[in-house]
Symmetry: C2
């Protein structure tokens, strides 16, 4: 949404067209620009933490952010992957509660912060922005409910295949056209799928043996997306 420099213009941001904030009326966008603060985070750094009170929302300018719950037994559950143009932290802000998930950088990232009061006041006077906000919320909710259904009904193998395709959808691929454009640990993949790390490893090996993917370290190449889709056994 904004460049890493405080006085930069949102209008010059690399991913501005994908961002919700660009739906705001021009004068409001300018107001946001003048108030936002941009920060860079190194890989692994925390943007905000579960349990804390929100003071505003964040908009990803560059990099990759994971949003994850900490389950009751301490295991991580990744609930969302954010890319440039996405906003994060809005759920807690809108429901006026504490964060229910932590946001952690998967890569070196740059993230803009927009103070709570400003955002909420603009939300009240900018119908276009708030409609877009609702659209995002509804869409996230749809995805979440689909994930619930799949977690309840599908075996790990299918969910892993689906997750690989989801990662591709989200972060895309490298120049070769097939290598996933993000480095996730096996544990993170497992926490995205909702399974044990060892199961994720085992099934990735199986996929490799079946010629579906290629593995070298954390790089994952999707050799056969069509067959992977079939493995995921998706209806829609």
């Amino acid at each position: 949404m904004c460049t890493p420099y405080h006085n930069a213009s949102c209008a010059n941001c690399q991913d501005r067209f994908g961002s919700i904030l660009f739906k705001a009326e021009k004068c409001n966008l300018e107001e946001i620009e003048s108030a936002k603060v941009c920060t860079t985070y190194k890989k692994g750094q925390i943007v905000f933490q579960e349990g804390a009170y929100p003071f505003g929302i964040y908009c990803v300018n560059s990099g990759k952010i994971k949003l994850s719950h900490c389950g009751d037994d301490g295991r991580e559950q990744i609930v969302r992957l954010a890319k440039p143009g996405d906003i994060i932290g809005y759920k807690a802000l809108l429901s006026a509660e504490r964060y229910t998930a932590s946001a952690i950088a998967l890569d070196d990232s740059s993230v803009c912060f927009i103070p709570k009061d400003l955002f909420m006041s603009i939300l009240q006077k900018d119908a276009s922005l708030s409609l877009e906000m609702m659209r995002i919320l509804a869409s996230e909710l749809r995805k979440a409910e689909l994930k619930i259904t799949h977690l309840a009904q599908k075996p790990v193998r299918e969910r892993l295949a689906e997750t690989l395709l989801f990662i591709k959808e989200t972060y895309g691929v490298e120049q070769d056209g097939s290598t996933l454009n993000v480095r996730l640990s096996r544990e993170e993949i497992a926490n995205l799928v909702g399974t044990a790390t060892e199961s994720a490893i085992r099934l990735l090996s199986e996929f490799k043996k079946d010629g579906l993917i290629e593995l070298q370290g954390k790089k994952i190449r999707l050799l056969n997306p069509e067959e992977l889709t079939r493995t995921a056994n998706l209806q829609d």
Copy 2:
């Protein structure tokens, strides 16, 4: 939100205070009143169906409605339980897609219908209403993500205990103060928990043996909610 009679006033609706629509400005609420259509549904009847295009939103006046996905293998997954005052069908409307879930009456119910164009236009001019709408969406999203984490990390036994408490939260209890105020089949309970019907039955029997609950037909009495909470192993 409204009584079963077309010309009834939302202001007289039994659950109006719990309803989002009551957050709308007075003039807008009146506009809604004059346009809404109230329909009654017998137990088991469909309010709207997965895959159909939305023509408006619904507000539950009386009764109980379940919202459920149909999984890829045909098994049902219940994603929400709606009670009087709740609105349903907003997700599809806001994201401008087809319904991803069906709404089915669990009891004889009365539901108001508000046409799409009217609702969307009021949403655009009524900041208070749209803010409340966002609050609801954010809250639903929070619940969905918690459910994802629990599905991924908790055994069926804990999830069943949690579900029983959730049902109590949602629909309350009868005059005796402990019997759940809704009749769900074992299959529906299983589809809410995300497990097989037989597993749900078996664990309900265990709960009964352990003195946590009492069963007679579809009536379920929670004898020991505290112990049930402990069984659910909830952190928060």
